[in-house]
């Protein structure tokens, strides 16, 4: 917290903002696209994110983690949107996750995984499996596995304790594994 009165009058906020924030827009869009599922909604969310950031950019302090700051705003916007649409986060009991995971694990041979991964590499099936995850689980995977945020950064973006983030991530990966194994097995069967 601080008080006004310390700004440099000649500071060109617009130029600074464009230099700082615009390069992050594609990453914001990628994540927003997977969280909203619709291109236009994702573009709207990115635009709103940058406008909100711009309105408070005079308080931006050099050294702040800009990516995390912008992703925090984005997630706040999307969460409010979900609330407006009365979408509540889907609860997936731990036992269900474990059972799906164990079942997928039983059905597969580990030594075949690199081959299966090659089959799935960059395939639309991965995207479909990600889209099937509950919102908060999907957000955890996107931030940590795709956007390379640390647990601490991702937890701050999602406004949850690090332990919760870790738990969501763990469940998300297990559900993802079950779905991907299923895709991979079907893909292998189709070729084989």
């Amino acid at each position: 917290m601080s008080v006004f009165g310390d700004e440099t009058p000649s500071r060109n906020l617009r130029a600074e903002f464009e230099e700082t924030a615009l390069p992050i827009a594609p990453a914001l869009y990628r994540t927003a696209r997977r969280l909203t599922r619709r291109s236009e909604d994702a573009s709207d969310a990115v635009q709103e994110t940058l406008l909100r950031a711009y309105r408070t950019f005079d308080r931006f302090q050099p050294g702040t983690n800009t990516r995390a700051w912008l992703f925090t705003i984005l997630h706040s916007i999307l969460t409010n949107d979900w609330r407006r649409r009365q979408r509540t986060p889907e609860e997936v009991p731990w036992e269900v996750v474990e059972e799906r995971f164990a079942s997928a694990l039983r059905a597969s041979a580990v030594d075949a995984e690199s081959r299966l991964l090659q089959k799935l590499d960059a395939s639309p099936e991965i995207d479909s499996a990600l889209m099937e995850l509950p919102d908060e689980f999907r957000a955890a995977v996107l931030l940590v596995d795709v956007e390379d945020f640390t647990y601490e950064e991702a937890a701050a973006v999602l406004r949850c304790p690090v332990g919760t983030l870790r738990s969501r991530l763990h469940r998300a990966r297990k559900l993802l594994f079950a779905a991907l194994r299923d895709y991979a097995r079907r893909s292998g069967a189709a070729e084989g």
């Binding site: 060109n12 617009r14 499996a129």
Partner: protein, 264 residues
């Protein structure tokens, strides 16, 4: 998710995300050597992570950047041009209010009330921690809280920082008098239910009682007080005294103050 005696699930995930130190990693490797179940689980999670990373990327629409620039243009027009120099009047008026406050302090006879300020803020903090301190506005939105302070006739401009990156989230705010002048109070809630109180008021550090410790960071002087389990850090920003009160690790509270303080 939890570790159990048989299978250290936390450790598997931490290993995957390179969050184990060498001793923990060594311990896990010893376990993996004899546990086929955990080896398979780790491999499957590694495979899943690799899959997620290889997910096809959504390319942003080609007109996204142009659209964003247009939106910024509109925002600039709405506020009269962002690149326009700001009015110097706003920069002066905290000093004018400081002069007024100084005159008032002299008229009132100097150190009246001031020696108990840390104690008073510690009491406020304890009331906040037990939800016994009413907040006039509850919001997580810094802009909304700043608008509230602006409406409240606070005798200095107020900035509210979102400390989300430090895992502290805004709870709300209120205006409470300090030395007879309206002062700002902002409440945050942090990890494990910890509270953080931020106070700002017109005053000087020299009016306070002798601190337990004095520190200097980035040219800013900090006065540090302890009150039982609480740490109170005071510093000046122009005519305004800023205070952080926390019940976490004392050094963490001090470092938070270092991070937030701005040289005026």
């Amino acid at each position: 998710m939890a570790d159990d005696a048989q299978h250290p699930r936390h450790a598997l995930q931490d290993a995957l995300d390179q969050r184990l130190d060498s001793a923990q990693l060594h311990e896990l490797e010893a376990h993996l050597a004899g546990c086929d179940h955990c080896r398979r689980e780790l491999e499957s999670l590694r495979w899943t992570k690799a899959c997620a990373r290889s997910a096809p990327s959504f390319e942003h629409p080609p007109d996204l950047e142009a659209r964003l620039r247009r939106a910024l243009d509109e925002e600039d027009r709405g506020r009269g041009g962002a690149a326009a120099p700001r009015s110097p009047v706003r920069s002066f008026w905290p000093w004018l209010t400081a002069a007024a406050a100084l005159a008032a302090a002299i008229w009132m006879g100097g150190r009246f009330w001031t020696s108990s300020i840390p104690e008073a803020f510690a009491k406020e903090f304890r009331a906040l921690r037990t939800n016994a301190l009413p907040l006039e506005i509850e919001s997580e939105d810094p802009g909304e809280l700043e608008a509230y302070f602006s409406r409240s006739g606070l005798p200095f401009p107020m900035r509210v920082f979102d400390l989300g990156m430090m895992a502290y989230h805004l709870e709300g705010a209120t205006v409470r008098p300090v030395k007879g002048d309206p002062g700002a109070l902002v409440a945050y809630r942090g990890p494990e239910g910890r509270s953080l109180l931020c106070r700002m008021y017109l005053g000087r550090l020299n009016d306070l009682s002798e601190p337990m410790d004095r520190r200097t960071n980035d040219g800013i002087a900090f006065h540090i007080y302890r009150d039982s389990d609480l740490t109170l850090v005071f510093w000046e920003e122009g005519a305004v005294v800023c205070v952080l009160v926390g019940d976490g690790d004392p050094e963490a509270v001090v470092q938070l103050a270092f991070a937030k303080a701005v040289r005026v």
